[in-house]
Amino acid sequence: MIRFEAAIKLGAFAYEVAFESAAGVSLFGRSGSGKSVTIALIAGLLRPDRGVIVVDERVLVDTEKHVFVPKHARRIGVVYQDAQLFPHLTVRQNLLFGRWFAPRTERAIEFGAVVETLGIGHLLARRPGRLSGGERQRVAIGRALLASPRLLLMDEPLAALDDERKMEVLTLIERLRDGFKVPIIYVSHSVDEVARLASPVVVFNAGHVVAAGAVDEVFGPRKVQAGESRFARSSVLTGRLVGIHAEYGMSEIRHPGGTMWLVGAAGAVGSDVRVVIKATDVTVSTEPPRHLSIRTVLSGRVAAIEQEDGPLAAVTIDLPGHGHIVAMVTRMAVDELGLAAGRDVFALIKTVALDERGIAPAGR
């Protein structure tokens, strides 16, 4: 459990945030929204003007009672966006740095197990300067983990990586969280990452919390404006993987609104999976498509249309059963099709646009 209440003024930036959640939580928001300040406050790198921070019943900060546990005594690990490895030490020395300071009785995490899970055994003798971005980040995660922290803070740990590495490291993070039982506070501005990790989400904007709850709730209609970019809107759908069609190399995922097709094997048959769909990849049709290459068609009803003076409109479609999907279309299309709330429509998704590497088993 984490109870967090803090206010701090940093120049012109007024930060005032309060939330309470399980220790494993994702902090979501665009850059400058106050996520990183939250991390710095929990880690003890910043001192709030006023506030109370309690992690697992341990009071770390209470400005009224003049409590401020210094950063080295908090035992809270931090993984930064740019690794911040010690350049004068080898990978092995970096990994063992925090372990050496951890009390003997609390060294719960084994060196060998971490090195093996992260696949960094061949790097131990090297210096950080000779590592690639992905390798560096894996070492940084290992270093934080080996200090046997009570809580691990990850501040945009994938931001400096390319897409391939992102998926690879994200998979590792999931495996570590579940394997080593360390709660993770994960900071990101990416819907995909936050949806994939499936922890409760706290949404930040301009130094304040604007929404909080489970992934599916928070990324609902109209609740989140993640960024001004139309490419930033996504929706998350949960469906059951009912079959893998080997002859075409496709996975069939059943949702009450229709069938979703994915490239490759998306998981174990019979399991629930979570699919992230970018709003720009969704086409809206008023009749079932016939002569199109589109494989994934979901039927639903328009719940809301967000449009302003610009050329774009975001159409939220409620799907039968559960969930909804957001389609980014032009205002021209809305007018010509006569789209309005309450209208039955079909959401068309190009199968090749869905990233099968972002698929996560649901239900956590």
Partner: protein, 232 residues
């Protein structure tokens, strides 16, 4: 021509001893001062910074005279140190070392401060979140990363101490065998008839030592650059 006489040897040995002592004693204080200037915020920091740099801008004779006023045998502080700790500076080689240390100190602190300021503070933060307190962070992260600057600072201080003249001669005079350094000896030889050969030999030695210090600092800098290149 290149045979040194006994008193010339004495001057060379004395110069090296004074410069080494000045550097060795300034080093820990210099590191602390450089760290304080680079990392801490405290009231009077501006004044502290100015005080450290004062010997750099004051005429050396003035610095020597201030030392004499403060630490001379009859000055309150000088008498106190002599009576209670047996430490005497005036007209001793230790006084020469002190004057040289004071003169070299600003150069040393400048080099060290720059190299500490160049270290990403987030590395120190990272060490903190991994459980290292301030002292450990300094010993394991800050100091090793600032080491090239620290070494360069020490070499600069050493070179300055070797060439110091004005403050030393004002504070501890020019006593052969006690406070007569290479510089003071050269000055003395140029003042007496027939001293040119001696002055010339000591000049050559001064050039060799100074050049040696420069080359050493260059080597340290280059090694540091090579290592830094690995960091990228």
């Amino acid at each position: 021509m290149f045979e040194l006489s006994a008193d010339e040897w004495t001057a060379v040995r004395l110069s090296l001893r004074i410069a080494l002592a000045a550097t060795a004693f300034s080093l820990p204080v210099g590191v602390l001062a450089a760290y304080a200037l680079a990392r801490w915020r405290f009231p009077g920091k501006f004044l502290f910074d100015g005080l450290i740099h004062l010997p750099l801008v004051l005429p050396p004779v003035v610095t020597g005279y201030i030392l004499l006023i403060l630490l001379g045998r009859r000055a309150p502080l000088g008498a106190f140190l002599a009576d209670h700790f047996g430490i005497v500076f005036s007209f001793r080689w230790t006084g020469a070392a002190l004057a040289c240390g004071v003169m070299g100190f600003p150069l040393m602190v400048r080099a060290m401060r720059l190299s500490i300021e160049a270290i990403d503070r987030r590395l120190e933060d990272a060490a903190g979140t991994l459980g290292a307190n301030g002292l450990w962070t300094f010993a394991l992260v800050t100091l090793p990363l600032a080491l090239p600057g620290v070494v360069v600072g020490a070499i600069l201080c050493f070179a300055k101490a070797l060439g110091e003249f004005g403050a030393t001669i004002t504070f501890v005079s020019n006593i052969p065998g006690e406070t007569q350094t290479i510089s003071a000896a050269i000055y003395t030889y140029t003042q007496v008839p027939g001293g040119d050969a001696k002055a010339w030999r000591l000049t050559a030695i001064a050039i060799v030592i100074a050049l040696g210090a420069l080359i050493l600092s260059e080597i340290v800098q280059r090694t540091a650059h090579r290592r830094l290149a690995q960091f990228e």
